[in-house]
Symmetry: C2
Subunit: 380 residues, 2 copies
Amino acid sequence: MKNFIFQNPTKLVFGKGQIARLPQLIPAGKKIMVTYGGGSVRANGIYDQVCQALEGTDYIEFWGIEPNPTVETLRKAIITGKEQGVDFLLAVGGGSVLDGTKLIASGMLYDGDPWEIVRKGKADAAIPYASVMTLPATGSEMNSGAVISRTETREKFAFYTSYPAFSILDPEATYSLPPHQVACALADIFVHVMEQYLTTPGQSRIMDRWAEGLLMTVIEIAPKIRENQHDYDLMSDFMLTATLALNDFIRMGVTEDWATHMIGHELTALHGLTHGASLAIVLPGTMRVLRDQKKGKILQYGERVWGITAGTEEERVDEAIEKTEQFFRSLGLSTRLSQEGIGDDVIDEVQARFERLGAAFGEARNVDGRKAAEILRSSK
Amino acid sequence: MKNFIFQNPTKLVFGKGQIARLPQLIPAGKKIMVTYGGGSVRANGIYDQVCQALEGTDYIEFWGIEPNPTVETLRKAIITGKEQGVDFLLAVGGGSVLDGTKLIASGMLYDGDPWEIVRKGKADAAIPYASVMTLPATGSEMNSGAVISRTETREKFAFYTSYPAFSILDPEATYSLPPHQVACALADIFVHVMEQYLTTPGQSRIMDRWAEGLLMTVIEIAPKIRENQHDYDLMSDFMLTATLALNDFIRMGVTEDWATHMIGHELTALHGLTHGASLAIVLPGTMRVLRDQKKGKILQYGERVWGITAGTEEERVDEAIEKTEQFFRSLGLSTRLSQEGIGDDVIDEVQARFERLGAAFGEARNVDGRKAAEILRSSK
């Protein structure tokens, strides 16, 4: 096991009716900016609950943080926040609203252009912020990361800042999510776990078991959610699993991969593919291309998560990859670039971008431009 | 899933050589009291590492916090701490030293007798404290609980206070632990998980998976540790599993039991049995007596943790209980009261004490004096 330091101070406030706790959770005397996306929270009753809870506090609203939040939008929020003397942010929405809010919180204490924070990969400071999370997927509600896009240059990068002070998770908020969004969310959760799990075997027995537990849970709940999105306990598992998949709990002392995410971000930036949908195409490709390097862990994954015990090692690896792709297909997601109309031009551009960055990703730092292109070609 | 609020602010600093980080971890300008047990840290090199790291800081030492720390000893530490103007505590040792230090930290800000804090079950305030944890078992390094004994009255109760600011866990500290202590620690870890798991089925799929992952890990590492206590990765798993078994991570949104612990505490208080050893006797009894109430979860536990799939439900329940008892025996621990020379007089006294408290424990709040005696008689 590698040496590690773990600390996650976020307060998780989970369950139905918890939005009413907002007045107790936000420190007194704050000038609050509540940040929203496009308006789905008006339809599902969340907006009304938040307004009711905040009655009597000093707050303004900022609307319009888009999916794959852009620095162009967030710059406006930062200007408004600074003008109005905002010193607490409350993100109400999904991972995009919260990720955007993380850049607003960081930009509030930064003098230059906020895109510089994103390119540095790390904010030096941020004002306190919290969330009412309505779309379980990114884990953003209990981690310090955020992914921001820049429309002008079609770029998309992650950066790190402070943790949310608290996050309220009410599973009832998920009842009205569009099924395709739920499918993308399940793919996102699944791949978050795989990025922290499908690396070198034998690093930590307990981290392996917990990652496998999350994967088995996603596999178990996915078809049930498709049948009934109004089962409270089921949607609770969905919501909590999303948080636990990316809140540092399963990365203690182990190496991580994240090549699939880096390639997926490019597909979103260049072609507009939804984040979770991009991962469903890339992950099976990553497994195919890195099958030798990852063989030990793929075999363990196949056996423990899918019950694959028969056949030669190579056959079991094949089956584990096939099961993974099948799972994404069962969500109704594409697993091939051609299904999404993505051609060689995009593959070439991803390769060129990786090469311009001079970067190589993955636990072995060997997923460079050439390898990324190979992964994408294997998913054509 | 039940509504819940989760927040665990402790910083975990894990791995070899991490004790050297102490000067960066303790806030500057503090008057530190370092608390120790009986002296095993002098033999294994931990004491020297701590002294070296603290060189140049303002600290005093308090020695002699015993296993099952007593309020009689801790009162002295509180008096010394108050006299010397101590405002930071560093516990160096196992769960007993840390539990005792939690009462010192709380007693430093309390005017009355510290036993009153224990009997109230909760401290209103505490000075900051941290730990260098050398014996993985209690999880005390990342939770807010502590168990304190009172020699005068042979009582033993738990109370809650603030969380440790940080805990340093160096797996090499475990190399020199006496094998019987390791065995008791493994039993303690196993039962911590069971107290949070073996209740009502169907509350949370992911909490179930994580609890099962911890149980499978303990079962897998136990025989390997008996073979080689100097395998770094193995002892890392041992150490991290202990922390994760009782740091609030696997209790999100689920009911808990803790009847086994309450009964076990009485066996320790009345007969001096080591904590982990007491649990190895009580847990199988609890499972036998509450087999109908816990049937659904025992079946799930049997199948997922022990691979028990053949036979009728009753046969599978029998086998799961037998496997549990066998596991404790494989650790070299007693699983019957008679093996420890504990007779009916102790059983009667446990029943009388439960009845005097007017308390009933377990997830169904039905383990009263009569039921506790029944559990103990089934383990005679």
